[in-house]
Structure formats: structure tokens, C-alpha cells
Subunit: 113 residues, 2 copies
Amino acid sequence: MNDRRFPWIILIPRRADITEVHQLPGEDQILLIRESSAAAAALGRLFKAEKINVAALGNLVPQLHWHVIARFRKDEAWPGPVWGCGERRPYEETQGTELRGRLRGALRGSTEQ
Amino acid sequence: MNDRRFPWIILIPRRADITEVHQLPGEDQILLIRESSAAAAALGRLFKAEKINVAALGNLVPQLHWHVIARFRKDEAWPGPVWGCGERRPYEETQGTELRGRLRGALRGSTEQ
């Protein structure tokens, strides 16, 4: 998510016409929770997160997507949820590129475990 | 959750000292997503939910717990998240008992599928 207030990954299962986790076949649900946990571990390590939030809401965007968010006691929304909190603050372009690279490296580490 | 504004189930894995989904062993993560989906399907059927929200936040209560919430375009928090929205409205005692009975029946249906 292009919001530098919160280190935030959105997983979008490449499955058509699905709006709810429980609509996925069992094996895809397992894949989703595994990938969610890999993303959570990567964010946790990379940002020394104090808490990870994971969620599928989809009240505004129905296509199934899964949030994995690193949280901190000093972040703007704490202890509330991040959704609907204030205004998004995009990364600078180089900052975004550099972060994607670090995330890719950390995800590689998570999925190899 | 004892809040009649939202049909809402909280799953609490009986595992000690766990605060994050990704701390659970793989087989427990699979059990969690399966039980989450059974709860989601039961809530969906029982309340004709327009959307289901599932989430593990735990910013306030660290022990791992998992929310499964039936949402409606006309509910008090829509399209925002339910957490931190207004004041909880407890069920009447008989209403709560009756609802638990209906949920048990619906969950039985979900887990048998």
C-alpha cells in the first residue's frame, strides 16, 4: 500500500469473481494463510513491528484482497484500525522502489523457511 | 461478541502465549482459516450478510483472537471497520441465548460440509 504511515502489504488472490475468503476452495484458503504469514513475518522482521494486523474486509472494494499491516504503538491510528484513518501519505518514488526491493528480499527469506 | 449492532463471532485458538497468526504452527493456521470460513459461512447464511469481515488485530488485547463479522450496507459502521465504532449494544438475555443456539446449529451445518 502506497502509504508511508504504515508498512502494509495487500495480497490479491489471482482468482476471478471471489469476494469472500470462504468462497475459495480449501487449498486456496491454505495458500492464502501461508502467504499471509510469510508477508507478516517479513514485515515483522523488516520493520521490527510491534503488532501485525491481518484482515479481509472488502466493504469498499469487493474483489477479495487481504491486508497485512505492521503496527506500532506510536503509529497514527494506534490502537484503532488503519482503515479510514486520516489521509494516505504516498512514498517518495525512490523510497517506494527501495522498499519494494527490501520487501522482496524479506519475502524470499520468509517463504524459504 | 455481545453487540447486537453486528453479528460477530470471535475465535480464540486454545494455544498459550500466541499473539500473531504467523506464530502458530502451520497445521494450526490451517485449522484457524477452516474454522474462520465455517463461522463466516454460518453467519452469512443465518443473517443473509452482504459482506463478511475477517481479521486478527489484537492492538488492545494481545492474546490471539480472530474476528468474523457479518456486515450490511445499513449497519452503523458501514463502510468503515466495526472496531472503535460507537458504543456496544448488548443483547437482551433471552435474545443472546436464542442467538447462540441458532449459531451452534448453523456452525454444525458449516463444519459438516
